[in-house]
C-alpha cells in the first residue's frame, strides 16, 4: 500500500505529514509506504498510491493535478494530530 503526503513545495509540511502518518499507521497496525511530494510532482508520485494526504487548502489543486486517479484525497486539518490522521486513514482504508 502506498500513501503520498503532498504540500506545496515538498519539504517541511509534507515531511511532517509523512512522519505523523507513519506514526498513525503504526498505531493502527497498518503497513504502508508513505512518501512526501510537492504539488508539481504529485501526479507521478501518486500514480500507484491508494491515499493522498494533504491539507484542506491544497485539496482542490491536488485533485486537479492528479486528474484521473484511483487515489483518495484525504484532507488533514492539524498535521500534528496523530489521532485525526489515524481516524481519517482508517476511514479511508477500512
Amino acid at each position: 500500500m502506498r500513501i503520498v503526503a503532498v504540500c506545496g513545495v515538498g519539504i517541511g509540511t509534507s515531511a511532517i505529514l509523512k512522519v505523523n502518518a507513519e506514526r498513525a499507521l503504526d498505531r493502527l497496525g497498518l503497513i504502508a509506504d508513505v512518501d512526501a511530494s510537492d504539488l508539481a510532482g504529485v501526479a507521478i508520485a501518486a500514480a500507484d498510491a491508494q491515499v493522498i494526504l494533504t491539507s484542506t487548502e491544497l485539496s482542490a489543486a491536488v485533485r486537479q493535478a492528479i486528474g484521473r486517479s484511483f487515489a483518495e484525497i484525504v484532507e488533514v486539518e492539524n498535521f500534528f494530530d496523530v489521532d485525526e490522521i489515524g481516524a481519517k486513514l482508517e476511514a479511508s482504508l477500512g
Binding site: 504540500c7 517541511g12 504539488l39 487548502e57 486539518e77 498535521f79 500534528f80
Partner: protein, 158 residues
C-alpha cells in the same frame, strides 16, 4: 542529518508585532538571516509559497511553518521561532490566528526529513504551541522543543 537544526538566540524573536501574515513571515526570514542560515531573499520566497499555494503552511492551530524550497539563498539548514504579541490571521479555514511562526530553511530536500521528524515529535504535544507562545527566553523555547543542547555551538560569545 538526524537532529533538529540549531536554534541560536539570534533566530528567536519573542513577542514580535506584525501587521499581517507577510510581516510575520518576514520576521521569521529576518531571524533566519540573522542566524546565518539564509540570505535575506529567502523571506520573499517563503512569502511567495503562501501567495502561490495559500495558507496551508498553518499546519496546526496557531502554528505556521514558513518555508520555501532549497535554493542558493539557503546557506545552511536553519530554524527560527517567532512568537507574535498579537495573533495574526493567515487566511486558514481551521487553524487561524497564528501565534507562533516557525521558519525552516533546508539546503537539501532529501536530508531534512529526519530532522523534521524530530521537530514533529515536539509539536505532537497538543499544548506546545501555547507554551512556546508564552515563552520569555530563547532557552525556554529550545527546552520546549527538546533541543537545549543543540544551541551551544553558535553561542560561544554568550
Amino acid at each position: 542529518m538526524t537532529t533538529i537544526p540549531p536554534l541560536p538566540d539570534t533566530a528567536v524573536v519573542l513577542g514580535a508585532r506584525a501587521d499581517d501574515w507577510r510581516g510575520a513571515v518576514r520576521e521569521a526570514g529576518r531571524a533566519l538571516t540573522r542566524s546565518g542560515a539564509t540570505r535575506s531573499e529567502y523571506a520573499d520566497r517563503m512569502i511567495a509559497v503562501i501567495e502561490e499555494f495559500g495558507a496551508y503552511i498553518v499546519i496546526a492551530p496557531g502554528l505556521a511553518l514558513a518555508h520555501a524550497r532549497p535554493g542558493s539563498d539557503v546557506r545552511h539548514e536553519g530554524l527560527a521561532v517567532v512568537t507574535l504579541a498579537v495573533p495574526v490571521p493567515f487566511g486558514h479555514p481551521h487553524n487561524d490566528p497564528v501565534r507562533v511562526v516557525v521558519g525552516l530553511a533546508v539546503a537539501n530536500a532529501e536530508e531534512h526529513v529526519a530532522s523534521v521528524a524530530k521537530l514533529a515529535n515536539a509539536f505532537n504535544d497538543a499544548g506546545i504551541v501555547g507554551r512556546i507562545a508564552r515563552a520569555t527566553t530563547p532557552a525556554e523555547v529550545r527546552a520546549l522543543l527538546g533541543m537545549e543542547a543543540a544551541a551551544a555551538p553558535s553561542e560561544v560569545e554568550a
